[in-house]
Amino acid sequence: MTATPTILGSGLDEVTRSEASLRQFLHGLPGVDQVGAEARAAGLGTRSIKTTAKAYALDLAIRMVDLTTLEGADTPGKVRALASKAMRPDPADPDCPSVAAVCVYPDMVATVRETLGGSGVHIAAVATAFPSGRAALDIKLADTADAVEAGADEIDMVIDRGAFLSGRYQQVYDEIVAVKAACARADGPSAHLKVIFETGELQTYDNVRRVSWLAMMAGADFIKTSTGKVQPAATLPVTMIMLEAVRDFREQTGRMIGVKPAGGIRTSKDAIKYLVMVNEVAGPDWLDPDWFRFGASTLLNDLLMQRTKMTTGRYSGPDYFTLD
């Protein structure tokens, strides 16, 4: 196995040489005390974001949304509607920014591409036998390549949680490296790779920290909490551990990695708590859709309602926003 070039010279290339060195490194990372971590996350959640700060946060949150539909019942009509909404979330307000991306299954990528055109809204596709990740590697790679070929700008892959939990770190690492390679596009830039951990299945914050480093060393562009199919999905403390990881990774390698909590973030209040956390844990550099995303579906409408409340001074209602 070859080390990925991105971490060369950071001292981490040695780490990925073997299963043993990987294990030694990951288990040598500072532990996470659950109670302390949760208390810190809850403490950040008490920040009071009002007036101008709230207006800023709402617009930023909208720009960070990966508007998502990942249902067996998805149809071209449904994803087209979603893509339209992604470009113009609030048809009544031309100043309302568009979201970061539309996130769909690979077979819907082409449809979304048609709708989005050159709007600047990205297309993200979940690949690698999403959501369970239980398939042979060649199938996962084919899944990825298909989505890239169909025009996906971003690939949201799932790791093999079984392999991770049984300590086969090298296998997880190799798979990420392989998927990353499959994200390459002959006629342009590689698709960005988001690596989904399904933190709800990993159980401990120690595991979240370890898998974050594993994925970053393997070449992930983004690390992402969850598929949205398993509870608990994204939580503030899990996201905080990941933000600490990207912060520390940049410190060591100079390379910035994005973070994407996904699933379970439904209200503006929640989203703002995440932004406070990004600001104070990873730092203001991450307050950008290039470095932080929300994987969400219903969140967007709440952000829009709150945004309208800020501009009109009165509370809005769901009837005034589209359902898609």
Partner: protein, 290 residues
């Protein structure tokens, strides 16, 4: 009648497991209850008190770190050896306190029994005084008693054996070390007790025994910044001295066991107070998480 001249014992101090004479080389006459000369006892000086505190401090770490079971066995061992030397102590009590032999026997028996009683407390006091505290959060929270440190004890002036045992045993059983000033007029049981301690597996320095005047030595102990607590039981009837000592003890906030109005009835059940005064509650928190 033998014409052999008997060999008299020199009564010395007991400091750090050794039997030194007073550093000052002073002694004073000890007379029995009828006024007959018995022996010269060492008159402890402030420097002897200082040496005793050093010895007690040195012994504190390892004594307090011993298992409670081990301290229990050592206190029980003191009782065994004391019982073994019963006639000697009966004689000392008769001489010192002027009791009849039968009354003195009862006093010695009570002293042995008290040691046995305290020996049993070594591994129970933590359970009785400790607690697991149900704090409103994800934390394990446990309170346990720990020894205060070096304790200066002014032993009762009248009850020279039972009273002495009753103020020393509760201090050391929980892991403190002690510097005790015995009864001035009745030091013989204390000096004999030192010999028992020296042969009962009590580590040197755990009990340091000074004979002499509390009025001379106690102010130095009360003001000593490396003494953590003081028991004023022995200054019954001298309110001015008791107050002076308590004021001096405030210099480093010693825990003070105040002098009672009259010397207590030593045959009564002591309760927990003689131990609790020289214990500190330590509470440890730790998060509960995965």
């Amino acid at each position: 009648m033998s014409d052999r001249i008997d060999v008299r014992k020199t009564y010395k101090l007991y400091i750090g497991g050794a039997f030194p004479r007073s550093e000052s080389a002073y002694s004073y006459e000890v007379r029995d209850s009828r006024g007959a000369f018995v022996a010269n006892a060492a008159l402890a000086s402030r420097k002897d008190a200082r040496d005793a505190v050093v010895a007690a401090r040195k012994a504190f770490g390892s004594w307090s770190a011993r298992t409670a079971y081990n301290r229990a066995q050592i206190l029980y061992r003191i009782a065994e050896v004391l019982e073994d030397r019963r006639p000697q102590f009966v004689q000392a009590v008769v001489q010192s306190e002027g009791l009849s032999s039968s009354k003195a026997e009862k006093v010695v028996d009570a002293a042995v029994d008290r040691l046995v009683w305290y020996a049993g407390w070594a591994d129970k006091i933590t359970q009785v005084l400790g607690s697991a505290n149900p704090v409103a959060g994800p934390f394990f929270n446990l309170s346990t008693p720990e020894p205060t440190g070096v304790v200066a004890v002014l032993a009762p002036q009248e009850s020279s054996l039972l009273g002495l045992i009753s103020v020393v045993a509760p201090v050391i059983v929980t892991g403190n070390t002690v510097v005790v000033v015995s009864s001035y007029d009745r030091p013989l049981p204390a000096v004999n007790l030192a010999e028992v301690l020296a042969t009962s597996d009590v580590p040197g320095g755990v009990v340091n025994l000074l004979t002499g005047s509390a009025a001379t030595v106690a102010p130095w102990l009360a003001a000593h910044m490396d003494v953590n607590a003081i028991d004023l039981t022995g200054v019954v009837g001298d309110a001015a001295l008791a107050t002076e000592l308590e004021v001096a003890a405030a210099d480093n906030l010693k825990r003070v066991r105040r002098a009672p109005a009259v010397e207590p009835d030593w045959s009564a059940d002591p309760g927990l107070e003689p131990m609790t005064t020289f214990l500190e509650i330590k509470t440890v928190w730790h998060p509960i998480g995965v």
